[in-house]
């Protein structure tokens, strides 16, 4: 078993855990945690399946992951701001309640 194999398998399991959490979790912040877990798994997959060059892991994959990390944190920060406002307005931390139909 090589290093890459271990990380590929772990990453796909983590991705699955993230999908599961995103669907099943109730609290919006836990859904965001699940999304972040998923994105980490995607990044690890991206680097490991891209293989290595003589000078370390594939530089393109590394660059893509760096870009992805920044995008993920930006999206998370915005989602948290939205979440905080939503809780302030409605007092609810989940989307399960019946959609209010106010104009």
């Amino acid at each position: 078993m090589s290093t890459e194999v271990v990380y590929v398998l772990a990453a796909s399991a983590v991705f699955g855990a993230g999908v599961y959490g995103l669907i099943v979790a109730n609290h919006l912040m836990r859904k965001l945690l699940a999304l972040n877990v998923m994105s980490s798994a995607v990044f690890v997959t991206m680097l490991t399946v891209a293989g290595t060059t003589p000078e370390g892991p594939d530089p393109v994959a590394q660059a893509l992951v760096l870009t992805g990390i920044v995008i993920a944190v930006a999206a998370t920060a915005f989602a948290l701001a939205l979440l905080v406002r939503l809780v302030q307005e409605t007092g609810l931390v989940s989307l399960r309640a019946k959609d209010d139909d106010g104009a």
Partner: protein
């Protein structure tokens, strides 16, 4: 010349956005309009080049794929870019009145609006899987933020749901991109198409990617986020969400399928996608019929109309491609008009409950007319753009003897007629004396202001598209997928 024009499409709105953020609010209108207007000549230049038979291509930073990213404009992407320009131009006209640049909401609206425009152009030009991911995230985040602009709890809940599903979909797409890069060593869509053989990996990656894109395109049963998001957003935002934002992912899907998806080119997957489309048409239309609020009705109509695009996959012929591309155009223009008209009526009446529309034509004739004209196109009645699109789609289905698809297309038009006529009939109904008294608190705004003009102009355009379809179709013909002859 033409390659530089591609850069103008993306950079002009982007520079305008930055300038709007930094400059004082009184300069916003001029900067924003300049940023959007500059893309028109650029589009002309590119169109001229494409009509001359060339595919305009530019390797950014001089690094050709697989090393770098290339922009590529053919008839297909150009058609979408023109749709973007037309919708954005008229909706901006509406937004000038509904989001005045000196108001709080206006100051938040305009920078995001311009960034959205730039990112949609960038998306239609890009042929790089990862770059498409970045632009998709940009489009999604901007769209979500703009839905929440009004600050109503319902809108923010809708925004949150859209955001969560959108981010999940992006990650599915990104995971597939990772797998495809590992397998092919390139991110360029066309090179991936060449290098990707058949096999378990190709199937898995493409399936993941398509799932992600279907979520973002709100194809039934992954549509749950759309009605609230489009229904609760401010008028101009709803218009551009329905006309453009859900189309960008369908654009990627079509590109992927017909330009790079050799591995999935079997009947079953195509049939499943077509079936989803058929379900979307029927379900969306029926859901629209039972709505009690105008904007929600229009939003469910979008769910239904998106279904037609999916019929392209099982039909997979030149005729179907032309029909579907034309449908995307016609629907985009008509639906933008419809949402703007609905937003104007909502602002004027104070509520968009359907019962309140009784007699609206007497007080708001322009907006009701705009809604009705756009409805003609949505239903597919001649001589509208919607009619041309649906007629061509029927022909395509007929030619390939897909009787089931023929039935769905016809049923969709009939159902659309029901929900459109329901609104129009109410609006033109003779009000009973009691209800003709203006309720206190309703404003006479929108009688014939810029907002109404924008809605009416788009609606007229939706009709004109049907009369003058020939030049548009000749542009579409220059962007046919490989293997399809005009």
């Amino acid at each position: 010349m033409a390659p530089d024009a591609l850069a103008v499409l993306v950079f002009a709105p982007l520079v305008a956005a930055l300038a709007v953020i930094v400059a004082p609010p009184r300069a916003t209108t001029a900067l924003a309009l300049a940023g959007i207007a500059l893309t028109a000549p650029a589009l002309w230049v590119v169109t001229a080049a494409v009509l001359g038979g060339e595919v305009v291509e530019v390797a950014l930073a001089g690094a050709a794929p697989p090393l770098g990213i290339a922009w590529r404009a053919d008839g297909f992407s150009l058609t979408m870019a023109w749709l973007t320009f037309v919708v954005v131009a008229f909706v901006s006209l509406h937004a000038l009145a509904s989001f005045p640049s000196t108001s709080d909401a206006g100051r938040r609206f305009w920078p995001m609006w311009l960034i959205l425009v730039a990112s949609v152009y960038a998306l239609f030009l890009s042929a790089d899987l990862f770059n498409l991911y970045v632009t998709l995230e940009l489009v999604t985040l901007t769209a979500v933020a703009m839905i929440a602009i009004g600050g109503a709890p319902a809108a923010m809940r809708a925004a949150m749901r859209y955001l969560l599903l959108g981010l999940m979909a992006s990650l599915f797409y990104l995971l597939a991109t990772a797998l495809l890069y590992g397998q092919t060593g390139t991110l360029d869509l066309y090179q991936v198409g060449e290098r990707l053989g058949e096999g378990a990996l190709a199937t898995t990656a493409l399936a993941l990617m398509i799932t992600g894109l279907l979520v973002k395109s709100a194809i039934v049963p992954l549509h749950v986020w759309l009605p609230a998001a489009h229904g609760k957003a401010p008028g101009p935002v709803s218009a551009v969400l329905s006309a453009l934002v859900v189309k960008v992912t369908l654009y990627i899907l079509i590109r992927l399928w017909f330009w790079a998806g050799g591995a999935l080119d079997d009947g079953l997957a195509a049939f499943v996608l077509g079936l989803l489309g058929a379900v979307a048409i029927v379900y969306g239309s029926i859901a629209a019929i039972v709505q009690t609020r105008l904007k929600m009705l229009v939003a469910y109509s979008t769910v239904a109309q998106l279904g037609y695009v999916m019929l392209l996959f099982p039909l997979a012929s030149t005729a179907a491609f032309r029909a579907v591309t034309f449908h995307v155009l016609a629907h985009g223009v008509a639906k933008a008009a419809m949402f703007l008209a609905a937003a104007n009526l909502l602002a004027a009446l104070g509520s968009d409950r359907l019962q309140r529309l009784v007699g609206a034509d007497q007080r708001y004739p322009v907006n009701v007319l705009a809604f009705a004209l756009a409805g003609v196109s949505i239903m597919g009645l001649p001589p509208s753009g919607g009619f041309v699109a649906k007629w061509m789609l029927l022909e395509a289905a007929w030619q390939s003897q897909g009787w089931g698809w023929v039935a769905v297309i016809s049923a969709g038009s009939l159902l659309a007629a029901v929900y459109v006529f329901r609104v129009v009939a109410l609006a033109y109904a003779q009000p009973r004396p009691a209800s003709s008294v203006r309720r206190p608190g309703t404003t006479p705004r929108g009688r014939f202001g810029a907002t109404s003009v924008a809605a009416l102009a788009l609606a007229v355009l939706a009709i004109v598209l049907g009369i003058a379809s020939a030049p548009v179709l000749s542009l579409i013909d220059l962007g046919l997928p490989p293997g399809m002859a005009p």
